[in-house]
């Protein structure tokens, strides 16, 4: 195969949405090429136009999208002007797509086998037995160990990693020339992420199909892409060979992106020194946490599931303890137990706050910051109200003092008082997380539990939030318990790291 042959070429493509008479451009004169057999990375923040580019190639743009200029050429076919019928014939057969949402991208009512096989049925003619055999072969090829069983299973019965493998099998079963993988690993745990990337690489080596890998995560792009395109605000800001691009970024934005990747840059490590003889602020001894499972029917027995097994942790004042583990390891359950949101516990959780009794309205309760700042902020209230509420409940400050406090806090988290009049949906993800942190800090806690506070944010925003957390810690002498599945984030901010797996501490070390 000639490696330099062009498979797909996008030329001067602009796409916009008209909103209230104004054209809102989401892709601004994009030009790119994909060669046969190469893996091209597209990296950028959410809203940079990566996914829109992919949807344009697939012909899956929302109906409200308007093509303003340019074209997409795929092996001599102009995709944007071709009829729906011809385009449909290319979809799946020549160009297929792997999506991020490995659960919702499958039909919950059909078996994995039926859904993978459907792709074959649409684009080829075989007998019933041959269809099944080919489907099972494809499932085996993506590393699913029991393909015969998985063929008959439903999406909810598989783990996230297995579903993503099945989705790759579905995308590849009809033998496409181009696979577009849109954030294929973002929803997965780090250990599984790398396996999925290796799988994509393996399929590329074996069958020579080209892959466009879209991600916000530089490390993902770096691991398998030969060439990379950096996008921001609908424009391509830089492109080139991956290694070169990331060792010698020219564009300011690329530089920022590279700088925000923790493993590439050691400067970000938390240098805040913990007092050697500081007191323990949180003592956890032999903690066991349970969940009651709902009984089935009237006669069913209630079962109790143990989530945390015999955990003991000591957190000293002023330090940042990282808790790391895969999803389902019990991290969040532990956090909820500490703040008192979980009642079914055995063992000791003691919070010593030496400044508990003070006149400025501070409280001894630990505060919590959640992963999903959108879901945890009341959508019908303004930011000012949201910030003031904990003060109303937990302090006896007057109205004036409360407002002064709110104004002070919003500036502490790097925003201005004009945001107090806005609603949560009017803010960006990073701003919402800043507000969530302000809500936690406004009552002057000494201990703050942060449950995946940056996981839903883009890398550059992540770095900003982590930096802000460190600053606030210095200023208010805070103690953090920082929960994350991402070791890189943990290393950036924590003094000590505690690794938990299946509810037990498997490792405890200095960062």
């Amino acid at each position: 195969m000639n490696k330099n042959e062009i498979l797909l070429s996008i030329e001067d493509l602009s796409i916009g949405f008209s909103k209230g008479g104004k054209m809102n451009t989401v892709l601004d004169h994009i030009s790119l090429e994909v060669k046969k057999g190469e893996i091209l990375g597209i990296v950028g923040e959410s809203g940079s136009g990566k996914t829109m580019t992919a949807l344009a190639v697939m012909g899956l743009l929302p109906e409200s999208a308007k093509i303003l200029s340019g074209g997409i050429d795929f092996l001599g076919n102009e995709l944007l002007t071709m009829g729906e019928k011809e385009h449909r014939r290319l979809r799946g057969k020549e160009i297929s797509m792997v999506f991020q949402e490995n659960m919702s991208s499958f039909n919950p009512l059909l078996t994995i086998g039926a859904q993978v096989e459907e792709m074959l049925r649409l684009h080829s003619k075989y007998t019933k037995e041959e269809y099944k055999a080919l489907t099972i072969k494809a499932l085996r090829e993506v590393g699913l160990s029991k393909p015969h069983e998985i063929y008959h299973q439903y999406p909810h019965q598989l783990s996230g990693g297995m579903r993503q493998r099945a989705m790759i099998a579905m995308a590849m079963v009809a033998g496409p020339k181009l696979v577009i993988a849109d954030e294929p690993t973002t929803a997965l745990d780090p250990t599984i992420q790398s396996k999925i990337l290796q799988l994509l690489k393996k399929m590329n080596d074996k069958y020579g199909m080209s892959i466009i890998l879209i991600s916000h995560d530089l490390r993902v792009i770096q691991s398998i892409c030969s060439r990379t395109i950096v996008m921001k605000d609908g424009r391509i800001v830089e492109s080139g060979m991956t290694n070169e691009l990331f060792t010698n970024p020219c564009n300011q934005y690329t530089k920022e992106l590279v700088a925000a990747v923790p493993m590439l840059n050691k400067e970000y490590k938390n240098t805040y020194k913990v007092d050697r003889d500081s007191h323990p602020i949180l003592t956890i001894q032999n903690l066991n946490v349970f969940y009651s499972e709902k009984a089935i029917g009237l006669l069913g027995k209630k079962s109790r599931k143990q989530v945390i097994r015999d955990i003991s942790i000591l957190v000293n004042e002023g330090e940042t303890l990282g808790i790391v583990g895969e999803s389902g390891s019990g991290k969040s359950t532990l956090a909820k137990a500490i703040v008192g949101l979980n009642k079914e516990i055995e063992g000791v959780i003691k919070i010593n706050d030496f400044t508990a009794i003070s006149n400025d309205g501070s409280v001894s309760k630990p505060q919590m910051v959640f992963q999903d700042p959108y879901g945890s902020l009341n959508p019908s209230k303004k930011i000012g109200w949201i910030l003031e509420e904990p003060l109303k409940l937990q302090s006896n400050l007057g109205k004036k003092e409360r407002v002064a406090r709110v104004n002070e806090m919003i500036e502490q988290v790097g925003m201005t008082t004009k945001y107090l009049e806005r609603y949560p949906f009017q803010l960006s993800g990073g701003q919402r997380q800043r507000v969530a942190i302000a809500v936690a800090l406004i009552v002057n806690p000494k201990l703050v539990i942060l449950d995946e506070p940056v996981s839903s944010l883009d890398t550059t925003i992540q770095a900003q939030i982590l930096e802000m957390l460190k600053e606030l810690q210095r200023k208010y002498k805070l103690t953090y318990v920082f929960i994350s599945h991402d070791l890189n984030v943990i290393y950036q901010i924590c003094n000590r790291v505690c690794v938990i797996n299946q509810g037990e501490i498997v490792e405890m070390k200095e960062a």
């Binding site: 697939m58 899956l60 449909r88 014939r89 290319l90 979809r91 799946g92 057969k93 297929s96 797509m97 999506f99 949402e101 919702s104 991208s105 499958f106 039909n107 919950p108 009512l109 059909l110 459907e118 792709m119 649409l122 684009h123 439903y154 909810h156 019965q157 989705m167 579905m170 089935i296 029917g297 009237l298 006669l299 069913g300």
Partner: protein, 315 residues
């Protein structure tokens, strides 16, 4: 399978519980059944004798068990409106046939009309056809079925003379004529429900169309129509089934006003007259019938869910 078995046991227990509760409730209601059976001027001895003969002097649990023994065999006692000459079971049976046929016919009309209309409306979203369907359903949803019954009588009965208003044909006399006559009340019952179903199905379909798995299906190169029937419809029907079950329970319980307008000897009218005549034996059975109906339909819906949705299956 184990789950289904458990569900069955729970189902049987709830039926017994319902029967016991309704029995107790009718025991608690003030009023003396001996007095109502024999009349106000019956002598004390007569009353005592009657109570003894009917087992009314026994304690509540024993009376319940006696009642249950009869009930299982289909014997619910005698109706006091017919001077204890008419068996409650016979009375109800005749009325039940009318109500059941009315329910079956209107349920069929509801399903056969609303599902295609809902799909059409969702497919042509925001088109003229969709707007028209939305407008018509909006109107019919706000019209009560007894008023529709009057309009239907006026148009098809009086003006077009397709049927004779008020001239009920019993199924024993002429089954074909009975069905033809029943079509009109069935339509009156069905129309408001159809309007609700179309609206409900349309929004359920539109919600499903936005989901990720539909995008996946598109990326496979499927046509819109095969995505609709192959993927979306089954998912969209899940909430609709619950709604349909509620509709079914509602129409099986009898449509009192429509029965009144068309002069149908249905269960709804029997309930109203029995309550007016303090004919508790009959009222009791109808209440029990309605309560059991809800339990049975819920049980069936549960089974259907398990059959359709693998996420609900638990083994």
């Amino acid at each position: 399978m184990k789950y289904t078995f458990k569900k069955c046991i729970v189902f049987i227990i709830s039926l017994f519980l319902t029967s016991f509760l309704t029995f107790t409730a009718f025991e608690v209601i003030p009023g003396d059944s001996a007095l109502s059976a024999l009349g106000m001027d019956a002598s004390k001895e007569h009353l005592e004798e009657y109570r003894k003969a009917m087992g009314l002097d026994k304690s509540l649990p024993i009376r319940y068990i006696n009642w249950l023994k009869g009930a299982i065999k289909g014997d619910f006692g005698y109706s006091s409106s017919y001077q204890m000459q008419m068996k409650v079971s016979t009375l109800i049976k005749n009325r039940l046939i009318v109500t059941l046929w009315l329910a079956i016919l209107s349920f069929l009309i509801i399903v056969l009309v609303s599902i295609p209309l809902g799909i059409l409306s969702a497919r042509k979203k925001n088109g003229i056809l969709d707007d028209l369907i939305t407008l018509v359903t909006q109107i019919f949803m706000s019209v009560p079925s007894f008023f529709l019954a009057m309009i239907i009588t006026l148009i098809f009965g009086i003006t077009l003379k397709w049927f004779r208003p008020g001239d009920y044909i019993s199924p024993e006399d002429n089954f074909g004529g009975f069905l033809r006559f029943m079509m009109y009340p069935a339509i009156a019952v069905a129309i408001p429900k159809i309007a609700m179903m179309v609206k409900f199905l349309r929004s359920s379909l539109l919600r499903e169309m936005e989901l990720d798995y539909v995008r996946t299906a598109k990326s496979k190169g499927m046509t819109k129509i095969s995505i609709l029937f192959g993927h979306i419809l089954k998912n969209a029907l899940i909430p609709v089934i619950t709604f349909l079950a509620m509709v079914l329970a509602d129409i099986l319980a009898g449509a009192i006003l429509v029965e009144q307008v068309f002069n149908l000897p249905g269960l709804g009218r029997l309930l109203v007259t029995s309550i007016a005549n303090r004919d508790y034996a009959v009222v009791h059975v109808i209440v029990l019938y309605i309560a059991s109906l809800v339990i049975i339909i819920n049980f069936i819906v549960d089974l259907i869910y398990q059959w359709i949705d693998p996420r609900v299956r638990r083994d």
